[in-house]
Subunit: 223 residues, 2 copies
DNA sequence: TCTAAGTTAGACCATTTGGTCCAACTTAAC
DNA sequence: GTTAAGTTGGACCAAATGGTCTAACTTAGA
């Protein structure tokens, strides 16, 4: 009747084996990860607008066309980078609980955050940049989970205060202060280096920083 | 002999009066200031690459050509914005001295920095962005004056410690912590708002923040 | 009034860049 | 081997954008 359907029906079908599907998916994942990694580095250094697809493609060692085969637009690539970032970002927030000793728990949290800043400066910078610009992409996804997790931490800190284990303070500001100080050492790295001549990569400076931050932020809370 | 020189010689000279020169300069200054202001707003929101000259020109209510009459390239405009920013930025660092009571002096400094963050969020954001990207433009000019001023503050804090007025601490980290926390409330405004629901523009939140930061950062230093 | 000097804007240009198209190549089912 | 499906890259396109050119307009000295 209709030779379009006829040719379509005649066309021999190919059914890939389960093994080949898996192999292909695995290869795709590896390549996507490489591109995402290159994109993170490039975006965190030059920002969304400052980084070009050519640059990212070159950094990932693929052609621009190939990059666009895996991520169809620049925006999409950026969003995926940010989503992965957000996932990693919220991890350290899952630590302390009410039963722990507050000074041990908060000290650990401070250390984890500072280690995180030292080990993931790119993530830290990109996160900072995004928030600076009003978090056009992150905010919607960030708001709810962040708010909830912080709320939980606030409750824990408040309970420590109620039990008299901690001097009364507004828990929000303690959390903000921990974030602000630890991230500062990553994000303002060049300024720190200009003033102090050292960075967190120097183990001595890392220890000194951690110890000073513990003194400054936590000692004042002893009842 | 040469009609080029002849016509040049014949050309009547105009010698502007002192008053007209002054008037013209004054008008230029006003216009340049308006453009710089628009540029600050735009750059701080979208970054160097994210902000277009069209956008800035529109924000300043002049044509792009006219903007380029006053600042011959985008880079030049950006550099001038950053230079003005740097000047304003270093102002609060000129306050405390050895004779003052350390808690009063540091408390004042904390307040001044927090007020500055509240009143100049654009400057704060742009400064943050520039440092994040490695301060390609600012670093050379920032390094020396910043290092010197911080050095002076470090000396003052150290002398307070030596006099037993302050618990021993590495002065650098105290200064970094004050910067980090106060700037955080401006730069991470959207995050603060997402979590706490309020910003520094709310006077109640401002006072609460200042009081909490004073407790956190300064109480631990009482000998 | 006449016109040099200063100012302004619209048209235009060249480059960058996000993204498309198509042809070639690789893989693996038949 | 044959060929459908998946992958890759070079050529190309269209929009955005930094910057120039030119002509007109304004100001103010002569």
């Amino acid at each position: 009747m209709n030779d379009k359907t006829a040719t379509a029906a005649e066309r021999p079908k190919r059914t890939p084996t389960a093994a080949s599907i898996k192999r292909r998916q695995r290869n795709q994942e590896i390549k996507r990860a490489a591109i995402l990694d290159a994109a993170l580095r490039t975006f965190s250094h030059y920002g969304l607008h400052g980084a070009s697809l050519d640059q990212i493609a070159q950094e990932a060692d693929v052609s621009k066309t190939n990059l666009l085969y895996y991520f169809s637009t620049k925006e999409e690539l950026y969003v995926q980078v940010m989503q992965e970032l957000l996932r990693v970002w919220l991890l350290p927030l899952s630590s302390f609980s009410e039963e722990q000793d507050p000074f041990e728990a908060l000290g650990d949290y401070l250390r984890i955050k500072l280690e995180f800043s030292r080990d993931n400066p790119e993530e830290s910078r990109l996160f900072c940049m995004e928030i600076l610009q009003g978090a056009p992409l992150l905010l919607a996804e960030l708001q709810q989970p962040l708010h909830d997790r912080v709320q939980a931490k606030v409750a824990v800190i408040q309970s420590w205060i109620d039990q008299g284990k901690l001097k009364p303070i507004e828990p929000y500001h303690l959390i903000f202060s921990i974030w602000a100080t630890t991230q500062h050492y990553a994000d303002f790295r060049v300024q720190i280096e200009a003033v102090a001549g050292r960075t967190l990569d120097d183990p001595g400076f890392f220890d000194e920083t951690l110890s000073n931050l513990k003194t400054l932020l936590l000692e004042s809370l002893r009842p």
